[in-house]
């Protein structure tokens, strides 16, 4: 997590259709206010983003109707999966037992990890009822078992130091406060003041939620 918007450089974005000059770069510390495209869609405009991870991605049996209310996997989603692939050896050697994803959306990040990290029990939650239904279909299609529940971040999880891996791709776009609750889909990007309002809510209790070697 950084304080600022991720910079997608050509190393990560492997769209073969666009020349590098067409990528939208975002320097750290640069405000997004001037970039109305990213502000209104919550996504950096790219075309056909390609994941870099080479382990198979989860199948996603969702359609255009679903994406009206659920965040469609994009650059940041693939970046997350790439990072998880790189960390797999690390996660496997420390006997990961419980994994919880907050704001799971379509569930593809958890589906990806669940396909490749055996032996752990997976939990995923979201506040958005459409996301939960979508995630259930994604988990079933990929034959992974994940316990789903509807909740507002960690509010339903008793802090018992029992989470080995906490996954969270938070809404991070700086937006007016009202936008954060304007629609289900807006919750996937609207991060309020400095884009930090949602992610900052998990930090105070994080220590009590993560297990001894939790990450």
């Amino acid at each position: 997590l950084t304080n600022n918007i991720l910079c997608y450089d050509s190393d990560i974005h492997q769209c073969t259709a666009c020349p590098p000059s067409q990528f939208k770069h975002r320097e750290p510390n640069k405000a997004m206010d001037s970039d109305s495209d990213a502000h209104s869609t919550g996504k950096i405009e790219t075309c056909q983003p390609q994941p870099r991870h080479n382990l198979p991605s989860p199948v996603i049996p969702l359609t255009g109707d679903d994406w009206e209310h659920v965040y469609e996997p994009a650059e940041d989603t693939f970046l997350f999966m790439d990072a998880l692939q790189e960390e797999l050896p690390f996660l496997m050697e420390r006997e990961t037992r419980t994994v919880l994803e907050l704001g799971c959306g379509s569930g593809c990040v958890t589906a990806f990890l669940a396909q490749h990290l055996r032996g752990a029990t997976f939990f995923a939650s979201d506040i958005n009822p459409h996301a939960l239904q979508a995630a259930r279909r994604v988990f079933d299609a990929n034959k992974v078992e994940v316990e789903l529940f509807q909740a507002d971040l960690l509010s339903a999880w008793r802090p018992r130091g029992n989470i080995d891996v906490l996954l969270f791709n938070p809404p991070y776009v700086p937006t007016p406060k009202e936008e954060m609750t304007s629609s289900w889909i807006a919750r996937s990007w609207a991060g309020g003041d400095r884009g930090r309002e949602v992610v900052d809510r998990i930090f105070p209790s994080l220590q009590e939620h993560l297990s001894a070697g939790g990450c």
Binding site: E95, T98, S125, L132, R136, L148, F149, A151
Partner: protein, 93 residues
Amino acid sequence: QELEKEFNLDFLVNIIDRLDWAGFLEAAAILNQQGLPSSKEEIDKANEEGMRKLHHALMEVDVVTGALVCTETGRRFPIAGGIPNMLLNQDEL
């Protein structure tokens, strides 16, 4: 619903480590699962029959429609389609 799931002793032992045993026993009793060890210490990994009973209660029995009830406040959190709704209402925040 009761769905058959593959029995995996190591996996079971791992997840038991993370369980709130008292909570699990209470839920198991409500779902008519009997004959479970009354504490984690009593679990005998070598007792296959006992472990399979544990596997059944923990992994194969699922509430599809029902509710989770807070033991402190009595507040019901409904479960629909196997998914509990743990959101609080505006007036509860």
